[in-house]
Amino acid sequence: MNSASAVKFLYAAYIATWVVHASYIGSLVRRYSRLRRQMKDMGK
């Protein structure tokens, strides 16, 4: 495989890494928002 097309794999790996991290952080934010809503409901 030539170097130019192999570089695509490098970009794919770096992008995949940050997609996984961003998804996980997104899931943490969603869980936190849900907890905040629950706390608000309890306060009513």
Binding site: A6, V7, V20, L28, Q38, M39, M42
Partner: protein, 305 residues
């Protein structure tokens, strides 16, 4: 602590950006693989971080199980001390030293690694007590699974242009890493779907046995002939010092990132448990006949993650 988080987050982002710049532009190009080898700067630090987090999960789980009774806590303490002493002495025995040399490992490295077990055990025991140990265990497992997922994604992406295949079936390093990931995913699934009072203990036991796979994954490339390359540090592996320098910078950046994510996840888990306890209490205090039924449901769900 709350104020420090945004500052640390900005510093970590800058550190990660610096590590990215080093990985892409400063590290020299590999003579054989070309630029695609730069995947190593994300693949290997993610693997090391996952191992470290699974190790923390193991230590927290042992501490959690040991803290159930004073006698088991005492026994665990002495076992850990014994492991530390044996781990420091054994690598310097002539026969063991000779064997370590054949696999390219310094006795001092082996002894230092062995010392990490009692050090981590007592450190975790000092700063985390009771339920916090369980919170730490689930935090480390979850973030560890995220890093291990990255290892399993970036590995095949790297393998395709270099080996010509996405996956080498039967390769012990690849298979044992997949098994490790499955063990910790099952640990998280158990915690999520089981709502019995024993869930935390069962999960801790699973974590202790699951951790046995960590040394198998790590040492598999030292002892078995695999498609996977030999270790980049020790084990007879050699790496350009400039590449190694960038690799270590990248690992430090990912460690800072993992620390921050763990911190956020730890606080989230503590908050979740507090909310569930408050809800259970609230339903107990509710006037009317449904209190008992509702609170039972809430209390039972405390084991869920």
């Amino acid at each position: 602590m709350k104020k420090a988080f945004p500052i640390l987050a900005v510093l970590t982002a800058l550190f990660l950006a610096y590590a990215f710049y080093q990985a892409m532009f400063i590290a020299p190009t590999d003579a054989l693989q070309g630029d695609v080898y730069r995947i190593i700067f994300y693949h290997v630090p993610s693997a090391w971080t996952a191992f470290l987090l699974f190790f923390i999960n193991f230590i927290a789980s042992v501490q959690y199980l040991a803290s159930a009774k004073p006698s088991s806590a005492r026994a665990a303490k002495w076992i850990v001390i014994a492991v530390g002493i044996i781990g420091v002495v054994v690598p310097f025995l002539p026969q063991v030293q000779q064997w370590l040399n054949t696999i390219g490992m310094y006795p001092s490295s082996a002894a230092t690694t062995a010392l990490m077990i009692p050090a981590a055990y007592f450190l975790v025991g000092k700063y985390f007590l009771g339920q916090d140990l369980d919170v730490l265990a689930v935090t480390a497992a979850e973030v560890g699974v995220v890093f291990c997922t990255i290892v399993l994604i970036t590995g095949p992406i790297w393998a395709r242009p270099v080996w010509g295949i996405w996956w080498a079936p039967g390769d012990i390093r690849l298979t044992s890493t997949l098994v490790l990931w499955l063990i910790y995913v099952s640990y998280l699934v158990l915690r999520h779907f089981s709502d019995g009072a024993q869930t935390q203990k069962l999960a801790a036991v699973l974590a202790v046995f699951g951790a046995l796979d960590i040394p198998l994954v790590y040492f598999s490339i030292w002892f078995f002939r695999t498609q996977h390359p030999q270790p980049v540090i020790g084990g007879g592996g050699s790496m350009d010092p400039r590449m190694l320098h960038v690799l270590l910078i990248s690992w430090m950046a990912f460690l800072c990132f993992a620390f921050l994510v763990c911190w956020a996840r730890f606080q989230l888990e503590k908050l979740r448990r507090e909310v569930e306890e408050a809800e259970a209490l609230e339903s107990l205090l509710e006037p009317g006949g449904s209190a008992g039924q509702t609170s039972k449901g809430k209390v039972l769900s405390r084991g869920r993650q």
